[in-house]
């Protein structure tokens, strides 16, 4: 603790004012009275875990909440463990869950009795993008060239987990173009990127943040992004390219679109005032420079939603996942 901080604190205590609470949490309404459990339905070090820990860091650094926030990883069964815990904690306002696409895919693929409607949606924080990557030494300069090659001979596409977002995209590419792709599942995105650098697979659909360092070092080449519009970040990441220079899949004639939800949920049966507290909290998190830096670094699509709009989005997205999973033959 630097001396300046101690001084300020003793000054505050000396003042003895009743309103010594920082203005950020001085609003009326409900507030946590116990430490808040922040459940991550994924392992340590992955994208969801990183985001949860950044949020935890921001909340404690900027003192946005009086009670501490504790991140707990419940990764078992592709996240089923974490979701079931949240489902079982009905009415508990001291628990939040961060979700990734396994919110939809895990119950569909494994038959674990769980659905997003067993939770209370709080907010969409961002959407994570997917980019088609190949090794920089490969002959394919565009997505079209890659697809053409995959029609000639079977190519290997590495991804995270099984019957989850990466494999859904791989199957969708195959369906849309007739490309022959063998999907090879790995444990984490970082591992997939390195396997691609080492040429053990021919392509990957890594999130930007998982592969950016290998792109900048010249080992990987992005071919297209699976979004309806190009990435926003125009800062040059390599000598010649910025995130915004990567064409969309559609531009290159590949009709596949996929974005991954990064959202926050609470258990079912909580009070509206309690939901409102976390909505407000996350709003403040999004306004911090630390958050903006994360969004920039990971080239996230920073769309956010709450309330009914978010519910409507979830309903639509669940139906879309069901179709995608069914087409791929992934339903349990």
């Amino acid at each position: 603790m630097p001396p300046a901080g101690c001084f300020r604190r003793s000054l505050l205590i000396g003042a003895g004012a009743a309103a010594l609470v920082s203005p950020a949490i001085a609003q009326k309404g409900w507030e946590p009275t116990r430490p808040v459990q922040f459940i991550v339905p994924a392992g340590t070090g992955g994208g969801a875990d990183q985001m949860a820990r950044v949020i935890q860091g921001i909340v404690s650094k900027h003192k946005l909440m009086r009670q501490p926030m504790v991140v707990v990883n419940k990764a078992g069964g592709a996240g089923a463990e974490g979701f079931l815990e949240a489902k079982g904690a009905r009415g508990n306002p001291h628990m939040i869950v961060i979700t990734l696409s396994n919110l939809f895919t895990t119950p569909m693929a494994t038959g674990v009795p769980f659905n997003w409607q067993d939770l209370t949606p709080v907010a969409m924080l961002a959407l994570d993008e997917f980019v088609l990557w190949v090794n920089a030494e490969s002959p394919w300069k565009t997505a079209a060239e890659f697809i053409a090659a995959a029609k000639q001979e079977r190519l290997k596409l590495g991804g995270t987990g099984s019957k989850q977002e990466d494999q859904i995209i791989a199957v969708a590419i195959g369906k849309a173009t007739g490309a022959q792709l063998t999907y090879v599942p790995y444990r984490g995105g970082g591992e997939v990127a390195v396997q691609l650098v080492g040429k053990h697979v021919d392509a990957s659909v890594n999130n930007p943040i998982e592969a950016v360092t290998h792109w900048r070092s010249g080992a990987l080449r992005p071919l297209c992004v699976f979004d309806s519009q190009r990435l926003a970040n125009t800062e040059k990441m390599t000598e010649t390219m910025a995130w915004s220079d990567i064409p969309t899949a559609k531009e290159t004639g590949l009709d596949v679109e996929y974005l991954m939800l990064r959202g926050i949920f609470m258990p079912a049966g909580v009070q509206p005032a309690q939901v409102a507290f976390y909505e407000g909290l996350l709003e403040k998190v999004r306004e911090t420079p630390d958050w903006r830096e994360l969004m920039q670094q990971g080239a996230f699509n920073s769309t956010s939603m709450t309330g009914d709009a978010f519910r409507a989005w979830l309903t639509k997205e669940e139906a879309r996942h069901r179709t995608l999973m069914q087409e791929a033959g992934f339903l349990a």
Binding site: G43, T44, G45, D49, Q50, R53, V54, Q56, G57, S60, K61, V71, V72, N73, K74, G76, G77, A78, A80, E81, L84, A109, T110, V112, R154, K156, G161, S162, K163, Q164, Q167, T182, Y183, V184, P185, Y186, R187, G190, E191, A193, V194, Q195, V197, G198, H200, V201, I209, V212, T213, H214, R216, S217, A219, E293, Q297, F330, A332
Partner: protein, 509 residues
Amino acid sequence: MEELGLLMQGFAVVMEPQNLLLMLVGIALGVLIGVLPGLGGANGIAILLPLTFAMPPVSAIIMLSCIYWGALFGGAITSILFNIPGEPWSVATTFDGYPMAQQGKAAEALTAAFTSSFVGAFIAIVMITFIAPVIAGFALRFGPPEFFAVMFLSFASFIGMSKGPALKTLSAMMLGFLLAAVGMDTVTGQLRMTFGSTEMIRGFDFLVAVIGLFGISEILCSIEDGLRFKGERAKIDARVVLKVWASLPKHWWLALRSSLIGCWMGITPAGATPASFMSYGVARRMSKHGASFGKGRIEGVIAPETAAHAAGTSALLPMLTLGVPGSPTAAVLLGGLIMWGLQPGPMLFVEQKDFVWGLIASMYLGNVVGLIVVLVAVPWFAAILRVPFSIIAAIILVVCAIGAFTVSNAEFDITLMLIFGVVGYVLKKLDYPLAPLVLALVLGDRTEEAFRQSLLISQGSLRVFFSNWLVSSIMAMGFALLLWPVVSWVVERINAHRSGTGAVVPREA
């Protein structure tokens, strides 16, 4: 010698008083975390990570990596004193460390463990300092077939080391594989053998099983033997450290070999746990006194500890240069890097020289400081054994329960730990070896995964395991080690026939 200049700059960063203080705090916390079973380095660092946001990245990584070194040192303490591995990589240390403690040589075993940990780490750091880029490139050659080959080699070097009859060893190992298969199957995305139970979704965590199989079952055995420690009358003498040191140089080849195994396993990245098992297996195989391993040989402590620490240290290398963590703890540190605004990967060495070399310098200093801290404490650690068993056993039980709970914050794991304790006790009484079970449980999952990934890549052809010189030579080494007992038995028999005695007792099937 550009590296030396950069390293000196790194030392300048580390020598700042604030950083030195954080280093000491980190080591002390790490030893504590290592001592508590279950609360592993990964968990400990994850809990303390938020504290570091306010610090400059260099200070933060110094503190967190010192926790890591501390945990690596600390893991050996409970393995040796109570047969409870504080960390997965100290399981192999129990094989000879605990018998030593029972013979009243706890202080010797602890000194040997700490010193060899230091030696392993030091060799790994020197390697990181001077040949990091070359090594990082080597790690890129490891795809699923190579990874499977390494796992195969681990098993091969370990099979036959067991004292029990071959059939019992094999069944213990198969039980381990069976337990490892429970839970999510990463290759198909399906749940296996959960029988509809939500508690089983997690699968059986290796640490929970180990705390039960080793720790709880040992307590049960001690209760049966009459409520006391066998090693209580140990002479405790500060000079024991010097005595052990005097005896260590003759094991230089063992230490060097174990370090190399460790470095290799850390980089590939397979991690410290398989490294410690493999190193122990190889040491036993290569030793003239192989048969007396497991009864309290100091080599049986040196080999796994050196390898575990070398692997733990070199596991940071793929994390820094490739962004792939070589161990669970490294995975959490990786998350930390991203939060401090640093992007791990090939560009880190180019763009964040201060950070990288500060970290490397802190590895040198952190390990020296760590060694001093733990060695000074050896007499006190050994004195724990003088506390009456009936008091300490209760404390151990509570600490084990907390540890089992901490692994994944699940109450069910405490029940599971107790069940494993009873299973371990029964297996011991029936003379089944526990080591192969544990080995299969810890490596089974990833071995299976690598095998199936390889077959996906090769479209089902087993030839993928002999497709290039690297994977072929590792597989060949594995087969050689696997067949060694058979070959040596045949050679022995031939020799026996020649000499006309024929008195060789054939092994059981």
